[in-house]
Amino acid sequence: MDLFVQLLLNGLVAGSLYALVAVGFALIFAATRHFHIAHAAVFAAGGYFAYFLADLLPVGSAIAAAVLLSVVLGVLLVVFLYRPLERRGGAGFVLFLVSLGALIVIDNIFTVGLGARPARLDAGGWFSTTVDIGRWSLIAGQVALIVVAFVLFGGLVTLLARTRMGKLVQAFSGNPEFVQIVGRKPQVVLVVVYALGSLLAAVAGVYVAADTGMQPGLGETFFIVSVMAVIIGGIGSITGAFVAAMLLGLLENILLLVMGAEWTLAAIFVLFLVLITVSPEGLAKINLRRARASA
């Protein structure tokens, strides 16, 4: 029992990480249909920037600046790559491949800068202070991560549900051309969506840099699991992505009770395959039913 609860807590940590990346991706994907795999690079950039900037700035400012830079990176990608490409009629796979190209470029530029050393950010002593929760414990950094994940998620949901900008984002996701016809600027939506999505991913990246260190290829691992969460949650559903990511994090840890860690990810993927085969629309199907019933 002791072990189980501790694993749940650890699962919450993993879930929060996945959730940050997943919610960011879900927002971008639902709004734009861009399979933005370079999201993984934005995540990594958060960690790398923080690591580099920590040499120049106090750690708090370094983190803030790193997140800001990553947001800029995300926005630059859409402004200078995806958008011009779409103007030329590119979509789907074409955008996916450009994004992939961007991921490869960004990842490796950091590798040149680092010499492939893991970028371990020294976030200060507080980070690894043990926080006791009953008979169980987390470190302060993990607690901060969970809190930040929930706060950012809550903020995003409020923003989407309550503000005009939120409605505009939804409108854009349904019919981007018509957004222009009713006199709204699609660029604004793109910038907002990419900025918010990148912000979430960058925060996760900073945490990873502080915890285990950022490394080449790490972004992709988190990205894959997160995209899976987005699908399980139902494409387009921010809350679905968040919940599914948390569940995946918990599951990954709980599965340790019955199997070795080398198999947990595979087990989750198999489960995922079964799930989408049985219920292709993911958790959202349930949501949709409820929404219709109430309509």
Binding site: Q170, A171, G174, N175, E177, F178, Q180, G183, R184, A295
Partner: protein, 247 residues
Amino acid sequence: MSTSVPDSGVAPAARPSSTPALLRLDGVHAEVAGQPVLRGITLDVAEGEFVAVLGHNGAGKSTLLRTVLGLVPVRRGQVRFSGDDITRSPTPQIVRKGVSLVPQQRGYFENLSVADNLAFGARTDGRIGLDEIYELFPILRERRGQLVGTMSGGQRQMVAISIALMSSPRLLMLDEPSVGLQPNLVARVMEVATQVNTEFGITVILVEQNIEKVLQVARRVVVINQGLVQLDEPVAEVTADHIWQLL
């Protein structure tokens, strides 16, 4: 399959007008997917006019309206609205100058409710508000919470028309607004178009296939053929048969 038509074509009838043109197209050329579609359209529309645009399927009517709105880039020529050159202006900017379009397809947001859709058309200074819309299409009041994507073809078309009407434009462009609508609603839509034109002085450009219907409401007829203006006359001076022969 388009056989090429020489640029000269039929010269558009000169249209001396006392009021300055609200919309002026001057030798506009445009391409879609690499194919030339508009091949030198010259057209003046004065403030307060009601112009019907007719033409074969594929003649370039929709492309014409989309070009005005900046959705299709102009290759050659010039578009002016209310005296300003809008040839290369971005769509939202043109819309803000007072141009609205009911597109031929998907003139609504499927993933938003009816009410949210209508909010995109709403103007604070709007002359046509929710009440007027709900009076025109009562079903929309009933279904104001339904996602537009789950509505029938005709119901969606009502939403599309409503959004454009609510934005109270100076120039309203309707691209076959009656497609898929039940007969009594078609009549209502035509009435409303006439009404906003006469009561509010909104300039209307209407694309339609049904010649009889057009002649009832419009005051000027423009026929587009293979990307060129083939005929441009006041309704009084043409007959349905005359147009029939052109088509």
